[in-house]
Structure formats: structure tokens, C-alpha cells
Amino acid sequence: MGATLLFGIFAFLIVACSLMVVLAKDSVVSAVFLVADLFVMACIYALLGADFVAAIQVLVYAGAILILFLFVIMLLNLDIVAARTNAGPLEIGMFIVVLIGFGILVVNLLLGERIELLPPGDSGLSITGKGNSYDLGLVLFSKYLWPFEMASVLILLAMVAGVLIAKRGKKKQP
């Protein structure tokens, strides 16, 4: 009961924050609301039994990536750009189609067959009894070792790419 209520509060917050992210004129405001969004997401993850991921989300996603966004926004010292682009009838039409699609999906889900979540403390979700981090580590370094290593290579590549792309061209010394 309590979990359901918590979930409801969190859901409401997410809805509000997501809307604000896309509707805000100022990109700083958008970024801040996105941070809030991510924080609430972490709460939901914890509720669903993924505490380690929740922590990672806050530390990495909200704490590094979004800060990076804010850095760039501040760096470029941008003027306020108009929030939305000029939408011609074609775009609006397409969006309405998308909305209808979304509507159909929602209706399907709310009225259709209910898929039940497992109750907490289930044996599947905890392999050893030593907590989510321990279990995750076990699976990560055994079954998913290869993707783990690849991910590190990926991060290296991204770092190099980022440096190269944002590099200033060589200034010709007069």
C-alpha cells in the first residue's frame, strides 16, 4: 500500500518534470528540471529493488552528464532561443498521429491484461543474500564481462572523439 502511494507520488513528479523539460524556454531551466527528473527516477529504481543502479544514476547521470550540459550552456553564453520551431501543418498533422498512437497504447495497457511485478525479496532478484551491489557485481563480471570491457573501450573512444571535435583549429602565428 505504501509502495503504491509512493509510486504514485513519484509518477506524478516525473510527469510534471518531463513536461517542464520540454516546455521551458530557457535551456538552463530545462536542464535543472531534467536533474530533478533523474533524481525522482532514482527513487523509483530504489523502490523497484535496483539500489545500485539508483546510486549510479544519481552519481553519473545527474551528477556528471547533466553537469556537463550545464557547463556547455554556461560556456556558450547563449541568448534565449525561441522554444519551439515553426510547426507547419505537416508537422502538426504528424504529431497528432503520434498522439493518437500514444493514446491507443495507453488504452491498451490500462484496460488490457495486467502483468504483475514480483514481490520484493524474491529469490531471483537476489542471488546471494549480500545485497544488490554484490549480486550485480557477480553477474557483471561473469556473464557480462565482455560488454563490460567493451564499454570501457567505448568510453575511451568517446573521450578522444570529444576532444578532437571540440578542438580549436591551429592558429596561424603571424
Partner: protein, 100 residues
């Protein structure tokens, strides 16, 4: 606890918010943020699915998605900086170079 359906609905809502942001915002950085929003919605879905199925694969998936999102954001922002240097603006309406 809520049935999985509600989590799916919530995730879908976030996703479509992200789509809306990508399609209709002029600020490139706002577009990138909307992409992050979309990625997050998928994360929620995976965590929920992991709870439904009963093993940790979903959570591992989220782990990696966050990693990839980080890389993509880094490279994307580097590009935004390069674009800003070249065009002096990040308004997509002003960035129509590949026009027919």
C-alpha cells in the same frame, strides 16, 4: 505494488515527451536533453522488466545504457561546441546548410 502496465505507461509518457522535445525545440542542447529523457524512459522500462522476469539482466542493461548515454552526451556536446564556433548560433532554424 503497481502492475507493470502502469510502469509501461509512465515510461511511454516520458518517451513521448522526449520525442516532442526532439521534434519541436529549436535549441540544439534542448534537443540533446530530450534524447537523454528518452533514454531514461527506456531505463525505467528495463528496471521494471527485470522485476517482472526475476533476474538481474535488466539492471545490467540499464548499467550499460547509462554508460552509452554518457559517451553520446560527451560527443554530442563537443559537436555543439564545434557548431557554435562555426555558425555562431545553435538555433536549428539557422543551421540549414544541407538544403536542396
Amino acid at each position: 505494488m503497481v502492475p507493470f502496465n502502469y510502469i509501461i505507461v509512465l515510461s511511454a509518457f516520458m518517451f513521448f515527451c522526449g520525442v516532442f522535445g526532439v521534434l519541436f525545440r529549436r535549441n540544439i542542447i534542448a534537443i540533446l536533453m530530450s534524447v537523454e529523457l528518452m533514454l531514461n524512459s527506456v531505463n525505467l522500462l528495463f528496471i521494471g522488466a527485470s522485476k517482472v522476469v526475476g533476474n538481474l539482466d535488466g539492471q545490467i542493461m540499464v548499467f550499460f545504457i547509462i554508460t552509452v548515454a554518457a559517451c553520446e552526451a560527451a560527443v554530442g556536446l563537443a559537436m555543439v561546441i564545434a557548431i557554435f564556433r562555426k555558425f555562431g548560433s545553435i538555433d536549428t532554424d539557422k543551421l540549414r546548410v544541407l538544403r536542396g
